[in-house]
Symmetry: C2
Subunit: 337 residues, 2 copies
Amino acid sequence: MTFTPTIRDVARKAEVGIGTVSRVLNNSPSVSEVTRQRVLDVIEELNFTPNPIARRLSSGTTHTVAIILPNLTSPSLVERLRGVQSALADSDYALVLYSAETTERLEELFNTIPNKANADGILIVSIPPTDEHLEHFSKSGVPIVLIDVKEPQLDHVFVDDTIGGEIATQHLIDLGHTNIAFISDPIDTLFSFGAMKNRLQGYKKALRKAGIKFNKGFHVEGLPQAEIVKNLTKDLLRTPNAPTAIFAASDAHAIGVIYAARELGIHIPKELSVIGFDDIRDAEYLNLTTVRQPLFESGHDGIDLLFSTMKQQNGNKPRSIKQDLEIIRRGTTATLQ
Amino acid sequence: MTFTPTIRDVARKAEVGIGTVSRVLNNSPSVSEVTRQRVLDVIEELNFTPNPIARRLSSGTTHTVAIILPNLTSPSLVERLRGVQSALADSDYALVLYSAETTERLEELFNTIPNKANADGILIVSIPPTDEHLEHFSKSGVPIVLIDVKEPQLDHVFVDDTIGGEIATQHLIDLGHTNIAFISDPIDTLFSFGAMKNRLQGYKKALRKAGIKFNKGFHVEGLPQAEIVKNLTKDLLRTPNAPTAIFAASDAHAIGVIYAARELGIHIPKELSVIGFDDIRDAEYLNLTTVRQPLFESGHDGIDLLFSTMKQQNGNKPRSIKQDLEIIRRGTTATLQ
DNA sequence: AGCACTTATGGAACCGGTTCCATAAAAGTT
DNA sequence: AACTTTTATGGAACCGGTTCCATAAGTGCT
């Protein structure tokens, strides 16, 4: 239907060899100015664009980065994806997106994507690989960077979630609170990632340091959907001796908490302090106090790490980038009345 | 470093021809059961996986769908992307993601991506192509589907934004409002897409029908970022004879409006009614009345349209899917006191 | 038995680039 | 002038699949 010229057509018309055309395409210095111009003219005339697939096959490089993330629902994941996308826009690498909504799909992706023929590099976000996966990854020979996972065997970008949990809780303690609840993702399910567990550890650690006894009933687990969290929080706030402060393990959880309080007519921050985690976009206009982690930047850093590994041929020892956490004080936390 | 077997290695080891191996790989019926099993055994033994790039080159198909969207910031775009991603997860097509944050980048993408060698099909979301683009698209011979753009020359999925604007405004009129403002993206910039313009038309139409004069000062333009819209809205609400109802052209705009009202101590919906557009995730927990458009579904429908076009070799006439709009009454609109 | 028709199979040619080796022409050296 | 070195260039071989044509073996029919 449409005629697509090849490098051979260009060569014929410009009366040069195919090697010369290829050299012009790749800016090889060993082409005379006259020839180069002639070839360029023909390329222009035929409206020729090199077939990327043929290029990939012969050069053995895909010019592609794959990213695997658990879903596109969580704002924090989307924010990381934005960072990756933005870092990649300057390069001429394409981004192939895979979302692993189920365990089976994840298994499938982990088994098929890491393959030199598929991508030159892979980013895996917020999914801790098993030892089996790690072995397979290493066999594949494809550079892989983990984001939001601390795994010493691979390059990774991470934050210290234990400290994050600790400073969040400490912030509430500093405000005079002692009845502090913690709402997080279900911990200890297959899909749950270490971050939640570590934030819980930090929470417990801060309590311990302050001499506050950990109250099992004050740890509530549920997926970060407003409706779910809202109901869990309502139950929690209706108990006698309800908490005066809540540490939400993500801003998404915090949103549910805020709406629960609103529906119960409980004033934030006068009657209830709430601190979140992430500092997603919504946090700002919700005026939510939170522990900020650099989401967008994590995408950038991941690409940096990946590219630097892709450039050096042989695998050096894994590197890691630790990102800083910071409390952003806004309007949802206040001293205990 | 890592030995990657090819189809020829498999052929040698199984003592068959390469053609036979290829036939086994592609489930061709004309391979005897004995041979098939022998080949499969060797494939297993060598841990052979066919190189997708080689396959693409020789078969002339990329097994890839590209999606081009204006950004990953807008929740409605992300929701559409989710729909696409989900529809694609069942197929064995990979999704390549391009975000066109600037006009130059968009131009670059529109010129390079539509190429048979790049993708078997392309989805373009919320970006109206120019006539030049359309011509180039058609020359490329790649099936293209537009989402959220009404363009008769191409397959597309769309909603009637004029009607959307009309029913939103009518809803406010029905509640007794006559001082109704409209907040939207800047209209008539290069990047703005027709949707906003049409919602404005619908807004005007509803006013006209109700015999309300269009007040230029009541049409406010700004990008849908909470901070920007908040300030614009504050200015608007401080004017004498301020509106008693606001039609926000997107839920993202509506969020800014809600926060402006909150800061000014204006009660929603008692003193101010607000209706949004889109029904993004946040709308539910903000209890925002809005015009729902099927965002996630638009991604699904786009893929359906694309696949059906990809299957039939020759371009029939462009088809379109019109999605329905629906008012979701929640808590931010009420009768005029 | 002889002939036509299936059924399996091998492998060359091909997809459209890149790379590398061979070679011709130009420039530099003594 | 003879020889070495450098610079440009052509094109075969290659990347790893798919496709198609040729051919061998098997089956059925008269």
